[in-house]
């Protein structure tokens, strides 16, 4: 693995390799099913989930529909609170801004809190080219970085590695990056976490510059919000002297009160918790507490092009919870790397081709990386109709065919993978047809009884798939 997604094979080719990796599939199956089951329980605790989901969808749509106004309001508020706002139209410009800010501080190291936006723009590689080392501090991102690997899941980026693989990576690589792994390190998760704690604390305590993303930006107040579990986020957001946050323009929400919706939807959809262990909010700078300098880099990089597509723009509602990955039969089989971008799974299949365009073979193949079973739509906390966008993008890929037979062929090969697995398709269709009449259309009216039963909707498509896997999977692959 080269540490970059560029030049990766198109989905069907990547899948042929990853589906043969039984270790990968065992890790993935165990992890996705565990999170999936926990999530259904966490969601069932709130009997107004359907209304929260509808509110989340509408707030995001409302923001996207007036995005220029909310971005300007955000800029005004961040500036008034002592922050500096930068605008970046593409990856190269965002990387340039960050590199210049780090160099202006005379630094050659930064600590980073897990950020998909910075993965998307290849920030670490761009900084390395300028002689700046970026240290990933999320445990899973650390595993990926030390292993010279790539993340394969939004929430659990090292989901494809098991404990003994992680121990081997720590023993082999920690010493090259800083404090070495302790002698006789076991593969007990608590010992591995302790090794990471010691290795990273040294970096947190000396870091002068940190780079983050953000889960939400509140236009009304200029407040940024980061949701996390380990405390590495808090370390990055509060200890260094300078904080640089690189955030996609779609992450803005109108008001502080809107967090009441998203701070209920996100943790339960994502880690299946009532609330994640740590949420940090900050507005500009605060004298004597936290960074003295705060820079916000607002990133376009294909988002405005996505916004221009009336069907596809709903992908920008995504709050990166990863629920859609954990229910996707194609993701479970293929693994995250097959999607060729930091955004794997169903959301990746619609977001990546929109952000990057569908000219390349890998991007043209992504809209076919689905059985259209609809499970992703059922669990999505902001009701993104992923199947609808997939079909829409397939039309675009087909339309551009023409003389570009190469692309068409790639697309057909990708479709062929699914069509060559009729059971996957049948299972998908069966589940889809069973649940179709229950699909949320609008916020439920007075007849709320039947609706509340559908809180368990995320579970429904799982049944036929599980039956199918049981019948078709060799016993040693399961757990």
């Amino acid at each position: 693995m080269s540490g970059t997604y560029l030049g990766m094979p198109a989905f069907p080719t990547a899948v042929r390799a990853s589906t043969k990796d039984t270790q990968l599939r065992a890790n993935l199956t165990h992890a996705t099913h565990t999170i999936r089951d926990k999530r259904a329980k966490a969601v069932a605790e709130l009997d107004d989930w359907a209304q929260l989901r509808e509110a989340g969808k509408d707030i995001k749509d409302q923001t996207l529909h007036h995005l220029d106004r909310y971005l300007l309001q955000l800029e005004t508020q961040v500036t008034a609170a002592g922050g500096v706002v930068h605008w970046a139209t593409d990856a190269a410009e965002a990387n340039r801004i960050v590199a210049d800010l780090v160099k202006a501080k005379g630094e050659t190291e930064v600590v980073k809190v897990k950020s998909m936006a910075t993965q998307e723009i290849g920030l670490n590689e761009a900084l390395a080219a300028e002689g700046i080392t970026a240290y990933e501090t999320d445990l899973a991102e650390l595993i990926v970085q030390l292993g010279d690997d790539l993340p394969s899941h939004i929430l659990v980026p090292a989901i494809h590695k098991n404990r003994s693989e992680i121990r081997d990576i720590f023993i082999e690589a920690m010493g090259r990056w800083g404090r070495p792994a302790p002698d006789g390190l076991s593969d007990n998760p608590a010992d591995l976490a302790e090794a990471a704690r010691l290795h990273l604390r040294e970096k947190f305590l000396r870091a002068k510059v940190a780079v983050s993303g953000a889960n939400f930006m509140v236009a009304e107040t200029g407040t940024l919000v980061v949701v996390e579990s380990e405390g590495n986020g808090r370390m990055c957001l509060t200890l260094p002297e300078t904080l640089i946050s690189v955030v996609g323009i779609e992450k803005v929400i109108p008001t502080w009160q809107d967090l009441g919706v998203f701070l209920q939807l996100l943790p339960r959809s994502s880690t299946a918790e009532r609330m994640n262990p740590y949420t940090s909010t900050w507005t500009g700078t605060t004298g004597g507490d936290g960074p003295a300098e705060f820079h916000l880099v607002l990133l376009d990089n294909g988002r405005t092009a996505t916004l221009a597509d009336e069907v596809g723009r709903q992908a920008l509602r995504c709050i990166r919870c990863s629920a859609c990955l954990n229910v996707c039969p194609v993701y479970e089989r293929a693994g995250g790397h097959a999607y060729g971008s930091p955004y794997p799974g169903p959301i990746g299949a619609i977001l990546t081709p929109q952000l990057r365009g569908i000219q390349s073979e890998v991007d043209a193949s992504l809209p076919y990386a689905s059985s259209l079973c609809g499970a992703c739509y059922e669990v999505c906390p902001v009701a993104i109709d992923i199947p609808e966008v997939l079909v829409h993008l397939r039309e675009q890929v087909a339309d551009q065919g023409g003389k570009g037979h190469r692309l068409e062929a790639a697309a057909i090969r990708a479709a062929g993978w699914i069509l060559g697995h009729p059971a996957v398709l049948a299972a998908g269709e069966r589940a889809a047809s069973k649940t179709r009449k229950l699909h949320p259309q609008k916020s439920p009216g007075p007849g709320i009884g039947p609706w509340t039963e559908t809180r368990d909707l995320p579970e429904m498509p799982a049944e036929p798939f599980r039956d199918w896997w049981k019948k078709n999977r060799s016993p040693k692959e399961g757990r």
Partner: protein, 222 residues
Amino acid sequence: MNSRETTLARVRAALRDVPARESANPRDYRSCHVADEPTVLLDLLHENLVDYRAHVHRTTPAELPATLARLLAARNARSVVVPAGLDRSWLRDVDSALVSDNATLTAEHLDDIDAVVTGCALAIAETGTIVLDAGPNQGRRALTLVPDHHICVVAADQIVASVPRALPRLDPLRPQTWISGPSATSDIELDRVEGVHGPRTLDVVVVIAPALGESGHHATTT
């Protein structure tokens, strides 16, 4: 055109199909999911905090100093950092060295300190969350991050039911840290491990004022 103008122009061009008028968002989700009564909220906060592996203790104003002293002694805390605005009488029974927070205390210094005692802005029962907003009895964010043991004192009347109830009571211009259980990771085969970077031990001490007419001798600790 600079990048700001370019981005805004692209946004506006992308939204040509959208009518200028905004539609009102439906807000028919609940503002809370439990009976909004003090004893219900207290029990629910307690239960949810314990579920996420925080240690919860109930005490009275009179018993608070003894409770804090006991919790610090139980973890052999040699030193405790104290936010500038914390009520010092809370710590009168404590044997550990008390370090007053001040501007010269760096993260390296904090790394040598065993524990921190703070108050909070409020606590949220439904999610098992305590919220710090850098108020005088909480101090800088680093104080509750670097030492390995955090004891947070919550007055029972600071407990609110839900996230939607909490937000209007919080000032977004203050830096906030919402804490639900101690630092945790599930990155290795989804096994939950406490304390990767933040404090490994979170003690939450709920102070219940004796109701009028009662003797005040019913301190219970768990």
